[in-house]
Symmetry: C2
């Protein structure tokens, strides 16, 4: 599976490896992810929930790999999330072990023990300390994690790792996802090329059972842990923290960034280091790409909706209004039905509780001004407005006309498919 | 239509006037609402949106009627809401004029003028001041209100009023409702009987276009306006402010309480007056009854869900957690599917952001303890838990185990019917 990046003529134009058609908004092509020196990936079938699909991913990382993480804000976070938060204090990583099929969430004391057992066994298999092992689980909650099944295949996974198994890795962590999610970029640090590879799973923000958001990003850049943490936190805001499928938040959401340091540039030790400019931009792009892939795979999603709010009294206020619109079932069902129902956008602005003046706000669907000055837009054209909400990608722009605060949120429409998927999952 | 309350043998057991089957959760019977001295109701067809259904309600009130009101908290409140808020300062009412089919919301300056015109014409028709006329509108937003159509039938409505047209009144204010909503009670004040009649419309909290919540309550009690206002505000909390269909809030939500003062007891001038005890209880009961009827008519609703949170650090915190559960699309779709998916309740508790300890909380579906001590309940019985979420009424109880705060919220499940209704309404 391994292919050498060096053989490629242009690293900036990734080759396209496969072409599939799944969810209506699924990407038509996937980029090819280059190898990262010392990073090997292996997937296997532990039979945690299904007997016939890969459900465990082991990523082995070279010595001196630094780690950073951003996690769910849930007050009922899962045992693996608590484990990762604790290990991050060391800032070092040698392995990542992920299973799908069981979230090991709300499993009490046994769940905490299960994480430790898996971490210890993984550490032994790759020759590292348990404190250098990061653990993530996604799937059903409240069921005991079958630790033995995972541990039973670790030896083989540690032996069989490949530096090119990125697509397989993205596939092994899927639950209700209809397609694997990968993204890659090349950045320049100090004149040297560094690579950023990311994988993600998630089919909603949502749900402790099958649609947790997990994302793992790997780079060969040489950046100290505190700076890496800061870069990740900043990049998570406009990407993973700006998407919503149904306003529900998983107990297991985990975003980890690993930097092996094998690139040739001198180490970066300060977040203000000017050499980080391109890396920062590319990291943001990879995370935004992955985050949008998650929204596009939102349960039942037929349309990608971008909500842009400007003119708010602050960025925080803009974000709150944008989320109110993006999470409104009435806005989302209207878009699903191709209905240019801007009245529901007015409603969603109003219910956000943020500063808003009915007579100053303007609403656009695509490039159609549908509402302004406290009433329907003067040149309102129902047919044009309907066209603007009828495609696969819909843009809703709101200018509150009060200040300079702005925010952008990505979401999807709310369809009968969402109800079908979520009304019958466990049965 | 008018029937005299005096003829009835027991005012405490309302007679049932009609029996219908509409939404699955529709009440099987309706109470008969007694006449209130001096209160006459008339409905008519103005043809605002449909040509064949009553869409205007005029209620004439006797001199000295006091008014109280509670309104939407939306920052984009409609022109009629702003009008009512202003007239409440006087505390007096002589008429209520309501139209369905058009919400007169987000109609700019023209909307403000429209309210004034309607109020003036109504005042002229009933012989009162415009400042004593309360106005409410529900229906499509952003469309100019056809004032002429309403004014055109006012003269006839003022002449044709009847003291028994309560069911017709409840029907005239409907939009997407599948059944009219009425409730009544008799209270004792100072040894004298007083009556409380209420009507409501709403099929969601929700939506500025067709599912606004309107409720109008009438009593012959003799209570001064400031006390009436306080009673209404208190009664609205555990009723209309404790229901949610889809977390969306209308720009037009209006709850008005009118007290004619024709009952025989001495006026009540203080909220602390002990004579109010029974009236307070009965007012609360009428509002809760109407609020639950709204939830039962929630768009697509197949099940009434009661979420009870106890053991929170405060009542406010309990309410926030209960709303997080009641508004969670994943919880609501699980209940729709008869899936005892308590993991989603854990998730919804966690995302509320309120104090919660995974290892201290307990979750019950009906009388089944499904989760406790950070894991699945020790005696968890999947079949029994499934039965508990399979009926028309589902109770979810959460004890956070932290303090004494408690709250109860009513909601309904989220079904494909909701999507169908809201994805195609305007087209």
């Amino acid at each position: 599976m391994a292919r050498k990046e060096a053989k490629r003529s242009s690293a900036k134009k990734p080759r396209w490896a496969l072409k599939i058609h799944r969810a209506p908004l699924a990407p038509e092509r996937y980029p090819w992810l280059p190898a990262l020196e010392g990073v090997t990936l292996a997937t296997g079938i532990a039979g945690i929930r299904h007997r016939d699909r890969p459900d465990v991913l082991l990523v082995s990382l070279p010595a001196n790999t630094r780690a950073a993480g951003v996690f769910t804000r849930s007050k009922t976070a899962s045992a693996p999330v608590e484990w990762c938060r604790r290990q991050l204090r060391g800032g070092r990583a040698r392995a990542l072990i992920v299973n799908s099929g069981n979230a090991n969430a709300f499993t009490g004391r046994a769940g905490v023990d299960a994480v430790r057992e898996v971490a210890k066994a993984t550490a032994a298999a790759v020759g590292a300390l348990a404190s250098e092992v990061f653990v993530a689980s996604t799937g059903v909650i409240g069921e005991p994690l079958p630790v033995g099944k995972i541990i039973g295949i670790l030896g083989r996974l540690a032996r069989d790792g490949s530096d090119g198994a990125w697509p397989a890795a993205a596939r092994a962590i899927m639950t209700t996802d209809t397609y694997p999610k990968v993204a890659t970029a090349v950045a320049t640090v100090d004149g040297h090329r560094v690579r950023i590879n990311g994988i993600a799973k998630g089919s909603g923000m949502i749900a402790p059972d099958m649609a947790t958001l997990l994302s793992f990003v790997f780079t060969d850049a040489n950046i100290v842990a505190p700076v890496l943490q800061r870069l990740l936190r900043e990049a998570a805001e406009p990407s993973f923290n700006s998407i919503t499928v149904d306003s529900d938040t998983s107990t297991s959401d985990t975003l980890l960034l690993f930097a092996t340091g094998s690139a040739q540039h001198q180490p970066v030790r300060r977040a203000s280091d000017l050499r980080l400019a391109d890396f920062r931009a590319k990291l943001n792009a990879v995370l935004l790409d992955l985050a949008q892939q998650v929204v596009r795979d939102g349960e039942g999603a037929q349309k990608l909706i971008t909500v842009e709010v400007t003119g708010a009294t602050s960025a925080k206020s803009a974000r709150s209004v944008a989320l109110s619109i993006a999470n409104s079932p009435l806005v989302k069902t209207a878009i699903a039905g191709g209905d240019a129902n801007w009245g529901r956008v007015v409603m969603a602005i109003g219910k956000a509780g943020e500063p808003a003046d009915r007579d100053k706000l303007a609403i656009r669907f695509g490039d159609q001004l549908v509402a302004e000055k406290g009433a329907r837009g003067g040149r309102y054209d129902e047919a044009a407005a309907t066209r603007a909400v009828s495609g696969r990608e819909v843009n809703i722009a709101v200018d509150l006309g009060l200040g300079k605060g702005r925010a952008r949120i990505y979401t999807c429409d709310l369809t009968e498919g969402y109800i079908r998927i979520n009304g019958s999952y466990r049965s």
